[in-house]
Amino acid sequence: MSETVEFFTLEQLCTVCALEREWLVVRVREGLIAAEGASESEWRFALAAVARARRMRDIEHTYEAAPELAALVADMLEELDALRARVRRQG
């Protein structure tokens, strides 16, 4: 039976992005990656968290960057994505 996923659990996001659980937990607790829910087992991640987590992971890895810096770059890239999409829609 197949169905589309509307959000991810912590385990699912780790699987999809090939992340260590601890890496992700720390960044959620620091507020660098957004999750809904109070405890780790209740955390729910939006689909967009996949792109964000991968970007942060790659930036941290490539430049040995601090997680906060990687999050700042991810913030800016997300802003860029949103603006590009707006430009495309307006033609």
Binding site: M1, S2, E3, T4, V5, F8, E11, Q12, C14, T15, V16, C17, A18, L19, E20, R21, E22, L47, V50, A51, R55, R57, D58, H61, T62, Y63, L77, L80, D81, A85, R88, R89, Q90, G91
Partner: protein
């Protein structure tokens, strides 16, 4: 198999120290970062740079690679038999950042360590990417997909096991969405099998481009269609629609057709960018008509252009 010159990819000499390799990698990773790069083939270059760095930044892999020397370019490359005897590569190299699009050369030398799965922290869920055609979002077909996963036998040897799954593609599926197949992940230590998570990517389509739920296409028009306006048929995966082009339309103008994007809930919109192609004056009569048009309208494209 084509030999990959990783030193050339990173633009460093073969005796470059580790910190020079790191510096070159970071410089190129910035230049070809797919999110910001203006270079035409940034994504492809980034994959090559990542591959080169994965090998050259790791002393173990670099030493193995250096054994091959520098084969002449353009020749088919085969590693000499027995070159990798007693050599083991640690599995950690394959989780993490570089899981995208490595070459056959890399796989031959260092193995295909990344099929599905990943560093899921003990999770029994598995992940893979599937490529679909845009049309699949409309037709919701049953797709057969082959997945390769590493399997460890009783003696601890790792081999690749292929299994085939039938997946019902949900209608209105979008790029980046994830299809969950309950119970199709791995069973760890005889426990309950986890889920298989399939991340959807679309193959490039010759005419259409998906952006979330919206579809984009370029519609070529003859000069008279643009000038006079009219109704033009536009083929979409689920049939042809008729699009009204307003009179006096210019190239680059964008039309929006509500609800004609991907059939999600709610459906996306279709964005049509107009393109005007100059009709060639192939006959004397066509030339005459163009000349008459030029005289009649006095149109100066250079003056009109913004």
């Amino acid at each position: 198999m084509e030999f990959k010159d990783y030193y050339q990819t990173l633009g460093v000499p073969r005796d470059a120290p580790a910190d020079a390799i790191k510096k070159a990698y970071r410089r190129l990773a910035r230049k070809y970062h797919p999110d910001v790069s203006k270079e035409p083939d940034a994504g492809k270059r980034m994959a090559e740079i990542n591959e080169a760095n994965t090998v050259l930044s790791d002393p173990e892999k670099r030493a193995a690679y250096d054994q091959f020397g520098q084969p002449p370019p353009g020749q088919d490359f085969r590693p000499p038999p027995g070159w990798d005897a007693n050599r083991e590569f640690s599995a950690r190299e394959f989780s993490g950042a570089q899981d995208a699009g490595f070459s056959d050369f890399f796989s031959e030398i260092f193995g295909r360590g990344h099929g599905m799965g990943g560093a899921g922290g003990g999770s029994s869920d598995h992940h893979a990417r599937i490529e679909l055609d845009l049309e699949d979002a409309f037709t919701a077909p049953l797709r057969q997909i082959a997945l390769q996963a590493p399997k460890v036998d009783a003696k601890g040897r790792v081999s690749l096991e292929t299994r085939t799954l039938n997946v019902k593609i949900p209608r209105g599926i979008r790029e980046g969405q994830v299809i969950r197949l309950a119970g199709q992940g791995a069973a760890l230590d005889g426990g309950q099998p986890g889920d298989l998570l399939l991340e959807v990517q679309f193959r490039p389509h010759p005419r259409l481009r998906a952006d979330g739920r919206d579809l984009h296409l370029t519609l070529p028009l003859a000069p008279w269609e643009a000038a006079l306006g009219g109704v033009v048929p536009v083929g979409l995966p689920d049939g042809t629609i008729e699009v009204r082009v307003p009179a006096g339309a210019q190239a680059g103008k964008q039309l929006r057709v509500r609800g004609k994007g991907l059939p999600a809930n709610p459906p996306g919109d279709l964005y049509i960018e107009l393109r005007v192609l100059a009709a060639p004056a192939t006959t004397p009569r066509a030339k005459e008509l163009y000349e008459a048009l030029a005289k009649e309208t006095g149109f100066d494209a250079r003056r009109e252009a913004p």
